[in-house]
Symmetry: C2
Subunit: 252 residues, 2 copies
């Protein structure tokens, strides 16, 4: 399944990755055993893509799953007039597009530069059939995704703009601590400030995630800052100043 591919050349350029973590990365977290990870890697093509790349662009890719090794990716649904709703934010190490799932009418776009494995869907499915227990783990992962989607439904359906932003910040905290974007080797380093995060998204993308306009996102951030719940060192780096009040601002 592993075809020689010009994209493979890009692998050389990714040697800045922590070498001791490569296998773990290939493992997409705890989803795969090392052996399963090797089997997946054997049928995959590795690529490095710049920020903004649409990953479901070609029919070839539409029939693949994507293992995200580094970077952040947004999964969106679109209306014909251009309105867009981000339905899921994925960060390494995670899997995009479940095997057995019909491709679905979504857009999948890299938010940051990203390293990915493209896994042909039918090859992935063959690996799943050959490894007892893997489908169970995929099933659990799908149920977690469903639960996350339901939490976002509550946010979009019933929360105010301020509550949405507070919810979003609490959600992002812990996922995007500074200098961790695209680097996960340091997860166990206790020196990190758990209350500071680097937002990988623009204001417009945050709006697309929360069902708001980018102006409203900007204004509500300013309001939360005025109220002393958070602070910004620059537009993308937020510090949670008062987690208790931020939680209460999120409406539980």
């Amino acid at each position: 399944m592993k075809q020689p591919d010009p994209e493979d050349a890009a692998v050389a350029g990714t040697s800045s990755l922590c070498p001791t973590c490569v296998e773990w990365r290939c493992g997409v977290g705890s989803l795969l055993t090392p052996d399963e990870a090797r089997q997946i890697a054997a049928v995959s093509v590795r690529r490095q893509v710049p920020a903004g790349t649409e990953l479901m662009a070609t029919p070839n890719l539409r029939d693949s799953c994507i293992a995200l090794l580094r970077g952040v990716v947004k999964v969106s649904r679109l209306l014909t007039d251009g309105r867009q709703q981000i339905v899921s934010l994925k960060s390494a190490p995670d899997l995009l597009g479940a095997p057995f799932a019909p491709p679905g009418e979504v857009s999948v776009r890299a938010v940051t530069e990203a390293d990915i494995y493209c896994v042909p869907r039918h090859a992935f499915e063959a690996v799943v059939r050959q490894n007892r227990g893997l489908e169970h783990r995929l099933h659990l992962r799908a149920l977690e995704d469903l639960s996350e989607a339901e939490a976002l439904l509550l946010t979009l359906g019933r929360k105010t703009a301020r509550e949405r932003l507070a919810t979003f910040l609490l959600d992002m905290a812990g996922r995007f601590r500074p200098a961790e974007i695209g680097k996960r080797c340091d997860t166990l380093d206790p020196a990190y400030d758990h209350d500071t995060l680097d937002l990988p998204l623009t204001r417009a993308e945050i709006g697309d995630f929360l069902g708001l306009t980018f102006e409203t996102v900007s204004r509500q951030f300013a309001a939360l800052r005025r109220d002393g719940l958070i602070d910004f060192s620059d537009a993308r780096r937020v510090s949670v100043k008062d987690r208790k009040r931020l939680r209460s601002a999120a409406g539980t």
Copy 2:
């Protein structure tokens, strides 16, 4: 696993069910083979519950899955101040609460009178482990639920009230044709009017599903009626008068 239960007495009261369909009903659609359905039934307790019953009320039930044999059930997430978002509407025959899923912080409430099987989670999981292929079908079902949730995310995040109502009506059409609420034996009867449906939900519940107030639901229904897209014979019975314009009103 089958305990003698006072609720079993209620079974006698459900003999109005089409007898030829009982097994199919137990099968929760195409999810279960007849044999699997029998195994599930053997470890379950059947109950009939009135409209409005909270199904996750007791710890006992919280640790069960529910096979919905007849009726409509809403799955909601709640905010502490009482705001509510319906994240999923289930109608017979369907399954509520996946095996292996952590119980989750949801409310599950019967919208209509309903017949259910309560399946202890661990017993269900044992059946899954003993039937190759069943987990695969549950996995596919979870992925479908996820896709539905994403579609609702787009609706809540990016559509206007009018678009939400149009989307909702198109979604309900085909699910709730008249006289089919709680009766599924007649699915193949071609005499039914595919453009008329009986809404199982109150205006307030539709609002909780679409992230609107009941007044807005009522007003938008009135507007769609004025515009000739739909008509009401009574508050719950809708006819789609112009499916093409309704689709365009739904924003695709």
